[in-house]
Amino acid sequence: MDRFAELLDRLVLTPSRNGKLTLLKDYFRDVPDPDRGLALAAITGDLAIAAVKPAMLRMLVTERIDPVLFGYSYDYVGDLAETVSLVWPESEPHRRRNSTLSLADVVERLQTASRSDGPSVLASLLDQASIPARFAIIKLVTGGLRIGVSARLAKQALADFGGVDVAEVEELWHGLAPPYEGLFAWLEGRAPKPEQSARALFRPVMLSHPVEDNDLARLDPADYVAEWKWDGIRVQAVSLGGTRRLYSRTGDDVSGAFPDLVDAMDFDAALDGELLVGRPPDWTGSFSDLQQRLNRKSVSPKMRERYPAFVRCYDLLQQGAEDLRPLPFTERRQRLEDFVGLLDPARFDLSPTIDFDSWNELEALRTSPPHPIIEGVMIKRRDSAYVAGRPKGPWFKWKRDPYTIDAVLMYAQRGHGKRSSYYSDYTFGVWTGPPEEGELVPVGKAYFGFTDEELKQIDKYVRDNTVERFGPVRSVRADAGKGLVLEIAFEGLNRSQRHRSGVAMRFPRISRLRWDKPPYEADRLETLTAMLDE
């Protein structure tokens, strides 16, 4: 249990992806079954443990320590799980059954506890555990580890650990269950690859490369098909052998949030497409509309009525028993067109292809797409098979140019890891209020898009123009006459109630440093809000 607790603590404080991968890989290598598999399940959210309510936790602890002292402690720490893990009285050594409480022990005792003796089982586990282990146990029972590790990253670590492609792990994943002993045996070369036992498995998706400057000049337009790139969420709808699953592009099962769509999956196939909301063909909702449907545990009928989900189909990967992935794109496309025609048109429609003869012609279409929910074009080789991952050559994405605005640097925060001595995370704002007495309102935060040399320049600027410091954050001088103007590129804008400005940018990054531009010439908030109304 201590090793698992240490892993969680290190993961949450390690900012770099590579650092996290190393920590996970080493853990998988050093820790035996079944603990490592249970840890994996805890991280990917596949470990089922009955939840304990915060009020219960608070009751357990105040039975053991003075409520006033607990109150002071909780006020200071601010996190219930952490406070309880720290103030929980150390039990006498003889009451600890053994000091090597394993994760498997903890999981087993929590899973087998009845509803009524859940609290006492939890208390006795806390009595036996060290401080970090207590924290981990409380996190397990209160749900949500919040350690900044996605299921995708955990699968990547498994792939690195076993020296296999992550697509292989993703493909197997939904047929496996904790503690994944067969998976680890395979990754360690001790056993063959696990059989794909589950039905309606995820098929690792094919991704594209962005078009670079000279790519197209070397390519013959006749070899390629183009279609619009829709601004929704890439999904895979699999309905095979009576099992229906809607997967995200990283293989997470998102069926639960889209019962309306799953109901309509009365076919025997695997489809690749874009998840959108709206009523095709007349209405295709924006990404903001789609967001109303995301990350929900339950979906009210009202929500389903207002934001009905549908899939705009790109590809057909499997039909009945036949795996279509090795076929050329044009052949799959033909099969797709025939197939989608048979489905509920309110839930499945076809992503149209674009006629074009030259790259210039496609460029013109790309820059003025016929629909606001289009974020560019996809270019696919006619003869391309559907392969997992991001092969260079067969598929390209050619995105609409990003939006840009000029904003003023307001706050800078120190970075992490390599950048811990640099002010590298920037909050920027635009003007609001009457021009004479305008003030800056923050509209976003960006931490990349600049070169190492530019980072040094901005860092120096921040240090030389600091107005106030709040821990790792510095507020930088920013008024009409003096300030640093940043050209910000972003992919879109959503309404936001969480931000004072009322807007939230998607994928903002710094595209240019405008040392030449006086701050009063930076953009105004109205420019952004006008983009919302489009």
């Binding site: 002071y72 970075g415 640099y422």
Partner: protein, 336 residues
């Protein structure tokens, strides 16, 4: 004699009217008794200073030879009289040379602990509990959430991380007096034999520790001249915490930011500072040590100084010990 007539807070610090001296005054005074060398307790500019030889040496290193008009070295456990008030210094276990000060007059004994800890520290003498009527305790970590783990766990975690990330430098923030030397010494005790790179701010104090018989092993300056970035891959670098936010830290390859401090017990503290490897190593008592010490002194009354007074006062109430906060100002948590 009533305790409050023997020692009482004044704006300059804790004052003894019959003996006419201050303990750890924050402003220049005629006669100062200093518990230890951290700059919030040991300030320059007093007319005369009474402290252990180590504390006087440390003050001279930090402030220069003329840091006080006159100095007098106190031997531990030796009693002197100042205007009829008996004064004895006893080891406090905080940093090299740190002492508690027992003040006794007309049958009343008060012990001012300064800063102290109870666990073993290879760089200083261990704390000795002194029976007294009133015990003046610090409360830097005076909340039940502060429970420092064994040093070995923390150093073990650091050494594991060094093996796990051999391509990165491990930067350990540690206060220049006490903590830095303790961390280096602990690394040696746990078998780390490689040279440790140190920030310039640590050099003279570390040399001084060495001269007092505390072996720190091979130390090298963490300067660029020591080599290109590659040299620091896999290295342990120790410096004052502020240095790692500074441009100084840029010479190290993809550093793992560590911080050795009791504050690292609280995850949010680590997160705020961008610490990737928190090491819970403290020169102050944790909650259990504070309450254990209060019991050990047998004091009927406890005065609580800098830190989180309210929780410790509450604990004393629950345990039938009279307690009150002293509200002394000017003490930071430099030692941690």
């Amino acid at each position: 004699m009533r305790a409050r007539d023997l020692l009482r807070p004044r704006p300059e610090g804790l004052y003894c009217p019959p003996g006419d001296f201050f303990i750890d005054p924050i402003r220049p005074v005629a006669r100062a008794l200093i518990t230890h060398g951290h700059s919030d307790h040991a300030r320059s500019g007093h007319a005369s200073v009474l402290a252990t030889q180590e504390t006087l040496d440390i003050m001279a290193i930090r402030y220069g030879d003329g840091f006080a008009g006159a100095t007098q070295a106190m031997r531990l456990a030796e009693t002197i009289e100042l205007s009829g008030v008996k004064v004895t210094f006893h080891p406090a276990g905080h940093v090299l040379g740190s002492a508690q000060i027992a003040v006794e007059h007309e049958g009343t004994r008060i012990v001012a602990s300064g800063d102290y800890k109870r666990r073993a520290d290879p760089t200083c003498l261990p704390f000795v509990p002194i029976r007294c009527d009133v015990f003046i305790t610090e409360a830097t970590f005076g909340l039940p959430v502060f429970r420092h783990p064994p040093d070995g766990d923390e150093i073990g975690r650091l050494l594991r991380s060094v093996r796990q990330f051999p391509e990165r430098a491990h930067l350990i923030g540690a206060y220049a007096l006490g903590k830095a030397q303790r961390v280096m010494r602990l690394l040696r005790d746990f078998g780390y034999g490689e040279p440790i790179y140190i920030h310039g701010a640590l050099a003279r104090l570390s040399e001084y520790y060495e001269s007092r018989g505390i072996a720190l092993g091979p130390l090298l300056p963490g300067t660029v001249e020591q080599g290109a970035k590659g040299t620091f891959a896999g290295a342990v670098v120790v410096g004052p915490p502020s240095a790692f936010a500074d441009r100084w830290a840029r010479r190290f390859p993809d550093p793992v930011a560590g911080f050795a401090s009791g504050w690292m017990r609280i995850r949010q503290r680590a997160r705020q500072r961008g610490v990737e490897l928190p090491l819970i190593i403290s020169d102050h008592s944790d909650w259990d040590e504070l309450t254990e010490t209060i019991r050990d002194t047998g004091a009927g009354e406890v005065w609580v100084t800098h830190g989180r007074e309210e929780a410790l006062v509450r604990w004393c109430e629950l345990n039938g010990i009279a307690a009150r906060p002293l509200h002394l100002v000017g003490y930071e948590d430099e030692g941690d």
